[in-house]
C-alpha cells in the first residue's frame, strides 16, 4: 500500500465502487438500447412484409377483377372500369409508399447479401405494370377483352421475381439479427471482463486496506499491551500506512518515550527515595546512638548528682546531730543548774564543772557544727554554681592562665619552700574562668596534701595529639591510696578529714568543669610518692552542653 491516509484509501475504494456501479448501470442501459433497436428493426421488417403481402393481395384482387372483366363478353361498364382504375391507382400509390418504406428499412438494416433486395428499376417495373393494368382496363372498356386477358397473363409472370426479393429481405433480417446478437455477445463478454476486473481491483484494494489496517492495529495493540503489562521499553514498529495510523504509531512511540522517561524518572526518584530513606535510617541510628550516649552521660550525671545529694545530706546531718544534741544537753544542764539554784547554793565544784566542761564543750561542738555546715553549704553552692554557669569557650593562652593561678599561691609556695614548674602549654579552647578554678583547685590540693618530709615540687605540662589536649599536674605529695582513686572526684569525699582543712568539693568542681568541656579527668597516684592529675579536652568539634 502506498503511503496514503485511511480516508484516501477508503475514498478510493468507494470511488472505485461507484465507478463500478456506474459501469453496470451503463451496461444495462446500453444493452436495453441495443435490444430495443433490434426489436424496432424486427417490427419494421414485420410491417414491411405485412404491407408487401397486403400489396400482393390488392394486386391479386385487381388482377381477379381485371380477369373477370376480360373473360366477360362485351366491354366493361363505365362504373366497373372506374372502380378497377381506382384500385389500380391506389395499388400503385401504395407500392410507391412501400418502396419508400423499404429504402428506409434498408438504411436501418445492414444486409450483407450479394443479391439486391429490389432491382433498381423496381418502381419503373411497377409503373409499367400499373400502366399495363390501366391499359387492360381501357381495353376492357373498349371491349377488347382478348387483348386485355393476354396483357394480364403477361403481367402475372413478373410477380414471381418479387417473391425472391421478399426472401432476400428475410435473409437480410436474419443476418441483421445474427449480427445484432453477436454484437450483444461481444458486448456482454467485454463488459463482463471489465466488471470482473473492476470487482477484482475493488476487492484487492479493500483487502489491501483492511490488511494493512489490521496489521498496523495489531502492532499497535501488541505494543500497548506490552506497555500495559509494565514493559515500558516496548515500542511499536513505525507503521507506514495509513497515514493516520502512521501518525498514531509515531504518537504512540512518542508516548512510550514519554512514559519510559517518566518511568525511568520514577525509578530514579524511587532510588533517590530509597537512598534518602537509607541515609535517614542511618541518621536515625546515629541519632539513636548519640541519644544513647547522651542517656549514658545523663545517667552518669544523675548518679553523680545522687552521690552529691546523698553525701551532702549525710554530711549535713552529721553536724546537725552535734548541734541539736549539744543544744539539748546545754538546755538540760541549764535546767539542772536552775533546779540546783532554787534548792539553795550549788556546790562550787558542780558549778565549775558545769561552766568549765559541760557548757564550754557543748558550745564548742555547736559552733564547730555550724561552721562545718557553713563550709558544706558553701561547697554545695559552688558545685551548683558550676552547673548553672554557661560556658564562655574561647581560644585561651594556657601558659598565661596557669601562671596567673600559680601567682596566687606565691606566698604559700615561698613559705613552704616549694617549687612549681610550668612547661609550654600552648592555647586551648576552654572557658578561662572555669579553667582558672580547675588549676587553682589542683595546685591548691598539691600544696594541701604535700608530704611534710620532702620539699614539694609541682609540675604542670601539656600533651597534644590530633584530637585531644591533655594537661597534667604532677606532685610529690603523700599520694592517694588505690582504693580511693575512683572516689576522689566525688563531692564531699575526703581521704583524711582531720589533718587537712577543706570542703570536699574541690575535685568534684574540677570534674564538673571538665565534664562541661566534654573532657575527662582522672588521677594516677601511689601512696608516699605523689599524684598525677590528668585533664583531657577535645581540640575541636566542641559542643557546649547547656546544663
Amino acid at each position: 500500500m502506498p503511503k496514503m491516509s485511511l480516508k484516501k484509501q477508503l475514498t478510493s475504494v468507494g470511488a472505485l465502487f461507484l465507478l463500478f456501479a456506474v459501469l453496470v448501470v451503463c451496461q444495462i442501459f446500453y444493452t436495453h438500447r441495443m435490444q430495443q433497436e433490434t426489436v424496432s428493426k424486427l417490427i419494421a421488417s414485420h410491417k414491411l412484409i405485412g404491407d408487401y403481402l397486403a400489396l400482393e393481395e390488392s394486386e391479386n384482387a385487381l388482377l381477379d377483377k381485371l380477369r373477370r372483366m376480360a373473360e366477360r363478353e362485351g366491354p366493361a361498364s363505365e362504373a366497373e372500369c372506374k372502380t378497377a382504375s381506382d384500385l389500380n391507382d391506389d395499388w400503385f400509390k401504395r407500392v410507391q409508399l412501400w418502396r419508400q418504406a423499404l429504402e428506409i428499412w434498408q438504411n436501418l438494416v445492414v444486409i450483407e447479401s450479394n443479391e439486391q433486395v429490389l432491382s433498381p428499376d423496381f418502381l419503373a417495373i411497377k409503373k409499367r405494370q400499373a400502366d399495363a393494368y390501366a391499359k387492360a382496363i381501357q381495353l376492357c372498356k373498349d371491349g377488347r377483352n382478348k387483348e386485355a386477358g393476354h396483357l394480364i397473363n403477361i403481367e402475372k409472370a413478373f410477380r414471381i421475381s418479387l417473391h425472391r426479393s421478399i426472401l432476400t429481405i428475410l435473409e437480410g433480417i436474419r443476418q441483421q439479427i445474427e449480427a445484432d446478437s453477436a454484437d450483444l455477445r461481444r458486448f456482454y463478454a467485454g463488459s463482463a471482463i471489465a466488471l470482473l476486473a473492476a470487482l477484482l481491483a475493488l476487492a484487492a484494494l479493500a483487502i489491501g486496506v483492511f490488511r494493512s489496517l489490521t496489521k498496523s492495529l495489531r502492532s499497535l495493540e501488541e505494543g500497548s499491551t506490552r506497555i500495559a503489562n509494565g514493559d515500558f521499553s516496548a515500542t511499536v514498529p513505525q507503521v507506514d500506512s495509513p497515514s493516520e495510523l502512521a501518525r498514531l504509531s509515531a504518537a504512540f512511540n512518542k508516548m512510550q518515550t514519554a512514559v519510559k522517561t517518566r518511568d525511568d524518572k520514577i525509578r530514579e526518584d524511587n532510588e533517590e527515595i530509597r537512598k534518602l530513606n537509607e541515609s535517614l535510617e542511618r541518621k536515625v541510628v546515629e541519632r539513636n546512638k548519640t541519644i544513647m550516649q547522651q542517656n549514658i552521660a545523663l545517667t552518669r550525671k544523675n548518679e553523680e548528682l545522687e552521690q552529691v545529694l546523698y553525701a551532702a545530706s549525710h554530711d549535713l546531718r552529721t553536724p546537725l546531730i552535734g548541734i541539736q544534741g549539744f543544744s539539748e544537753e546545754l538546755k538540760g544542764a541549764c535546767a539542772d543548774l536552775v533546779d540546783k539554784l532554787k534548792a539553795g547554793a550549788p556546790s562550787p565544784d558542780y558549778v565549775r564543772k558545769l561552766i568549765d566542761e559541760d557548757i564550754v564543750v557543748a558550745l564548742k561542738h555547736i559552733v564547730n557544727g555550724s561552721k562545718r555546715m557553713e563550709i558544706l553549704l558553701e561547697g554545695l553552692l559552688r558545685i551548683s554554681r558550676m552547673g548553672r554557669e554557661s560556658l564562655q569557650i574561647q581560644e585561651t593562652d594556657m601558659d598565661e592562665l596557669v601562671k596567673n593561678v600559680a601567682a596566687g599561691f606565691d606566698y604559700q609556695i615561698h613559705e613552704i619552700g616549694a617549687s612549681i614548674e610550668i612547661s609550654s602549654l600552648g592555647t586551648a579552647l576552654v572557658d578561662p574562668s572555669q579553667f582558672e578554678q580547675v588549676f587553682t583547685n589542683l595546685i591548691g590540693n598539691a600544696i594541701k596534701y604535700r608530704a611534710p618530709e620532702r620539699k614539694l615540687s609541682i609540675k604542670v605540662s601539656a600533651e597534644r595529639n590530633d584530637d585531644f589536649t591533655t594537661f597534667r599536674v604532677d606532685d610529690n605529695g603523700i599520694g592517694i591510696a588505690q582504693e580511693h582513686l575512683d572516689r576522689v572526684f566525688h563531692a564531699f569525699f575526703r581521704v583524711d578529714a582531720e589533718k587537712v582543712e577543706g570542703d570536699g568539693v574541690g575535685l568534684a568542681i574540677v570534674n564538673r568543669a571538665i565534664d562541661l568541656h566534654n573532657g575527662r579527668a582522672w588521677v594516677e597516684s601511689a601512696i608516699g610518692s605523689g599524684s598525677s592529675f590528668f585533664i583531657e579536652i577535645p581540640n575541636r568539634n566542641f559542643i557546649a552542653v547547656k546544663q
Binding site: P319, G325, E329, V361, H365, G369, A497
Partner: protein
Amino acid sequence: MNQERPVLKILIAEDDDAAAQLIKTNLRRSGLEAEYLRARNGEEAISLLKGAKTDAGVLAPEDRLLVLLDIRMPKVDGYGVLKAMRASKRLGRIPVVMLTTSDRPEEVDACYALGCSLYLKKQVDYAKFTEAIGKLAALVALCELPLLGGVDDE
C-alpha cells in the same frame, strides 16, 4: 566482785567528735557500766581491735567488747572495719552495732550481709537519738557479751 568480773568495753568508731561525745554521754547516762574507747577513723579502730595501744587506750583479751561503727569515716570506712572483723576468727564473734546517719535500704542490707549485729540510725532529733541509745544500752545490759579472747589469730 567487780574486779573478778571482766570489764565491758565499748569501742566507738566515729569521726565526728560531737556525735562520739553524745553517744558516750547517753550510754553513760543509761547506767551502763563500761569503759569507752573512741576511734577517729576505721584505721584506728582496726589497729585497736588488733590489740594495739593508741591514744584512745588498749583492748585486753579479758575484756568483753561491743563495737559501735559509723559508716562514713576517713581512711577506712565502716564497711572496711566490719569486713576485717568478720574475716578474723577472734573478732568474728564480737557484736557490731552500726550507728550511722543514713538508713538507705541498700546500706542497711549491705551491713547485715557483712554480718553486723544491729543497725541503728543516728537521729538528728535529740529525743529520738537518746531513746535509741537508751534502748541499745538496755539491750547490752541484758546480754552476756563474749570475751575478746587471746592474741589475734591472723
